[in-house]
């Protein structure tokens, strides 16, 4: 109890004296602000990318792909599809057909709206039962493509990001024209998705195998049933993944890279801010030598002095975290980025703010450690004589 009374007394004196040491206090504040600001805005890329990737994931959708293949690059034959149609756990549509959609993905090139830059994005050939597989699809104009015709349906973000996706636009694809006949929204997803009839697309591309197959389950719990059935069948060389896992695996290299860069840059910035804090706190402690010595002389304990310096340092760092996060939010939240060809919006979330605060506290704590020790170890008699 006595310790806390001492602690609060010292803290009050410390904080009351802060305005006189504005420079040192500001150095800590600015250092921590920029470190946290940079860390949070870098991490916002990672969160934004993940939010975008997992925007419309359903637990009852499952992706089947060739074992060992990368996302969208599998080889699933017609024979395997026939077996998949008979697997247990798959939901049936109104006509009693299992909801199984074959996909064939081909990267095609488009041009950016505005800049005209060439960029590759996937054209997905899919079975015509797509709306049953993805009930969140909501047509805003036109209709679904007709099986057998060279028609495209596109998500609305395509229209905003790329040229040539208005209703009735014709896109040359492999020597013939494909017409845009429908536009749709898919929940909150900002991804550009272009669909065509899978059979027609594969005929044109002379492909014989599907990239992957997506199925709808009766319930999320049927995942195990389906997975066991697939592994029990020796003719199927397939990997069964929940939609979220499949997407996550597909984006692992991108997310890993974004996270690595964020923490790499953040750590260096934090290191710099901590060094700055050490320097400023040394200055603050030095300028208060007499005060501290007086307190010690009248019976305040050394540990109370140490803790008071640490708390002061963290209190100085804390507004830095708030300001840094705020700056990141004001400057970058909602900013569209597309590093490495994947478009998303930066997203500054509450959990990032928490990370910012944690890092700020650690910077304050580490920065205050050495100066606090010095403050407590100062020989009282010499310190009292100091000017």
């Amino acid at each position: 109890m006595n310790f806390f009374r001492q602690l609060f007394a010292i803290l009050r004196v410390n904080l009351a004296g802060l305005p006189q040491r504005l420079g040192s206090g500001l150095t800590i504040l600015v250092g921590v602000t920029s470190a946290v600001g940079v860390l949070v805005s870098m991490l916002a890329m990672g969160t934004g990318a993940r939010e975008q990737q997992l925007a419309e994931v359903r637990p009852d959708r499952v992706v089947l792909s060739t074992t060992g293949s990368r996302m969208g690059q599998g080889n699933i034959s017609e024979g395997e599809v026939a077996v998949i149609l008979g697997l247990p756990g798959i939901r049936k549509d109104a006509r009693g057909e299992p909801i199984v959609a074959m996909q064939s993905v081909v990267p095609i090139q488009g041009r950016r709206q505005g800049t005209g830059l060439r960029i590759y994005f996937p054209l997905v050939g899919i079975s015509p039962n797509m709306p049953e597989l993805a009930p969140e699809t909501h047509f805003t104009a036109g209709r679904m493509f007709q099986p057998g015709l060279q028609e495209l349906v596109v998500s609305n973000p395509c229209r905003r990001q790329f040229m040539g996706f208005e209703m009735g636009d014709r896109r040359p694809l492999h020597g013939s024209d494909w017409t845009v006949v429908g536009q749709f929204d898919r929940g909150a997803s900002q991804q550009c998705i272009v669909y065509a009839d899978v059979k027609t697309l594969m005929t044109v591309l002379k492909r014989t195998t599907y990239s992957n197959v997506t199925v709808m389950l009766n319930s999320p719990a049927d995942y195990e049933v389906l997975r066991d059935a697939v592994s029990a069948d020796p003719t199927l060389q397939l990997e069964v993944q929940r939609e979220a896992d499949a997407i996550e695996e597909g984006f692992k290299p991108l997310n890993g890279l974004l996270n690595f860069i964020s923490f790499f840059v953040g750590t260096i910035m934090a290191l710099g801010a901590t060094l700055g804090a050490v320097n400023s706190l040394y200055a603050i402690v030095d300028s208060r030598r007499r005060e501290m010595a007086t307190l010690r002389a009248i019976g305040f304990s050394g540990s109370a002095v140490v803790v008071s310096v640490l708390i002061e340092s963290m209190l100085l760092a804390l507004p830095g975290a708030v300001l840094g996060t705020l700056a990141a939010w004001l400057l970058f939240n909602g900013l569209s980025a597309s590093p490495f060809g994947f478009s998303f919006q930066l997203s500054v979330t509450a959990s990032l703010a928490v990370i910012g605060v944690e890092w700020a506290l650690v910077m304050g704590l580490l920065g205050g450690l050495l100066p606090a020790m010095r403050a407590a170890r100062m020989p009282i008699t010499t310190a009292l004589r100091a000017t």
């Binding site: 805005s41 060739t66 081909v106 095609i108 910035m269 060094l275 400023s280 980025a337 590093p339 060809g341």
Partner: protein, 380 residues
Amino acid sequence: MKYLPLIWPGIWRKPGRTVLIFLQVSVAFALFGVLQGMKTGVEHVVGQTRADLLLVHGNLSLIDPLPLGQLQQIESIPGVKVVVPVELFLGTYQNPKDKIGIVAVRPDEGWQNAFTFQIQPQYAAAFKANRTGTLVRTGLAAKYGWKIGDRIPLKTTAARTDGSTVWTFDIVGLYDDDDVGGGNNVILINFDYYDQGRLVGKSTVSHYNVALNDPRQAVSVADAIDRRFANSSNETRTESLRELAQSQMQSIGDLNFLIRAIVAAVLVALLFATATMMMQSIRERTPELAVLKTLGFTDRAVFIFILAESAVVCVAAALFGLLLAWLAFPFAARFVPGLSMPWEVVAVGLGCAAMVALVSAAVPALQAGRLNIVNALASR
């Protein structure tokens, strides 16, 4: 120079403080060096990729197959020296998570002109003579402990006529790749062996590599190739290796804004740190500076001493930081290929450091210069 003895003790008056500020500036410029090194490194790499090596791929995408029948037609276009069919697929060896890129090429006369590979002549000869032979990238061979003469079974994404997806190759040599984007986990195999053995997609290629008689004709030959196949069912798009690298790097372009923002944040934080340090230092040294002036040093000399002190610390620290960044490049190269630190980056870095030093020391130096001797000595 003769004033150095006056500046030097000023710097080391409080060694702890100087070392801390030195480290802080070093850390900031190490970050600056890595970020700028990434950017210029990427630009440098793009500039170094070969503009005289053409890649002919489908107009739709990079992976859209083209028929092998186009080979002779491309060869007949004037200016073309060598055309090599290339097929790409993926395999794994033991560890199913570790992908190996398999590049099938036809090792006809002069085929190496159309690639950036470095292959010793005896390996190239063995590769040509052995249908099931493979050339392995040096780093990959070391990774799996492969030696010349080994037979390696790879589980691949391509099915063979018997339905199996396992292909076995004989290692006949090693190779290296000049192109930084080339990837480390890559082996070369014979196109004909692969094409005859595969179940689907026979007689198609991923793309053609084309070497030219005259590198200056790259653009006109590329146009001629695309015109040749315009309005056919397999339209082509011909790009030089450099154009391809450029379009890949464009996507990173968005990051430039972020890099600039980070560098700005770093510099602002530094400005504050050095400015407070200098102010503190001047306040503590007021009597000493007054003594200097009493001895006859002009206001201007004192002003310059203070600026010089701050500049020496900042520039030396920046140099040290850039050195650290340079030392970190081999590590960072695992994530971003081709990092480099040209002289421009060093110059810009040192310039920034000097600017931070001068701006942050300007106010304290001005105060020191204007110091009134009588007051300063009296305050003692």
